[in-house]
């Protein structure tokens, strides 16, 4: 597969593909291109997605449920090993093979099950507190659906997903289109 082909796939240019890859090493053969399977594996290793990750889900609401049942997570190596919620009526009930835990036992469960990533699917007003507790408990990264900017130490990466902003980005582009 040539950088040209890869570029078409990724909506970019051939030069961009080659430059980007060159920052991490030399993956292609001159005159031939890249061997797709080999490149794929190299990149998987490079990105740290050549193994499975233990994930905890905080918030057993509708968004939490959608994420928990999202097949792509498991198939890409993200294993949900714990679910938390603050609602007493949900605690103890089970989704699939996971029983929903109370936030009171958060640290305990996180450590016991070696959770590395936490998905926050809870309202904005409790997100900061849970995030801080997660960091304290040794979590390595946070995927945040709450519409606030979390304050965490720089060594713990946070990825924010804000669906309203995505819609607003569309609105903006449409408005600009004159």
């Amino acid at each position: 597969m040539s950088s040209e082909e890869l570029a078409a796939w990724g909506q970019t240019t051939a030069a961009q593909v080659r430059k980007d890859l060159s920052h991490f090493g030399s993956f292609g053969k001159r005159g031939l291109g890249y061997q797709a399977g080999e490149l794929r594996e190299s990149l998987r290793t490079l990105l740290g997605i050549d193994r499975s990750w233990k994930v905890a889900l905080v918030g057993a609401g509708r968004i939490g449920l959608a994420l928990y049942e999202y097949p792509a997570f498991r198939s890409r190596g993200y294993d949900c090993v714990a679910i938390f919620d603050s609602d007493p009526s949900k605690i103890g009930t089970a989704w699939g093979d996971q029983s929903i835990c109370a936030l009171e036992v958060f640290e305990e469960v996180i450590k016991e099950r070696d959770v590395e990533l936490v998905i926050l699917a809870i309202p904005a007003d409790s997100a900061q507190e849970v995030a801080s507790r997660a960091v304290e408990a040794g979590v390595n990264g946070i995927l945040n659906f709450a519409p606030i900017r979390l304050n965490v130490p720089p060594e713990v990466p946070v990825e924010d997903v804000n669906l309203v902003i995505e819609l607003e980005a569309l609105s903006f582009q449409i408005t600009q289109r004159t």
Copy 2:
């Protein structure tokens, strides 16, 4: 409110805030700062979010449900005026005040209800087809949850949301952290 304060809020620098705003006009008063409410309204107009937008949801699965019930959408002016699904057992049933429509009547309903934005919460294999039909029916923008790059004319903006990639971005950063 000074650019300094705004910068702290948005995790950036005062100079950046001023430069960015200056691209769209002059909103502040020298020696005083910005008047928050006024600035807010100016930006809302600029971004095209000073009005409500009519949205159709395609895919009445768990992700679709989570989005449909997401209160922030309605409160920010995004009105879901139609829901579509291909599953015959869902068609005709209702979520809240919306009855789920068949994809057969897609174009008809889109035009009749003046839908401007479409949210695609369906599997990758049918996303391109629905996207093309949406563009053809006159939709102005697409929020795409399917993990494929949609092929649509450049005047129709597409925002992609890929939750697996968000998790992978975390994995990468953690791996790099050495």
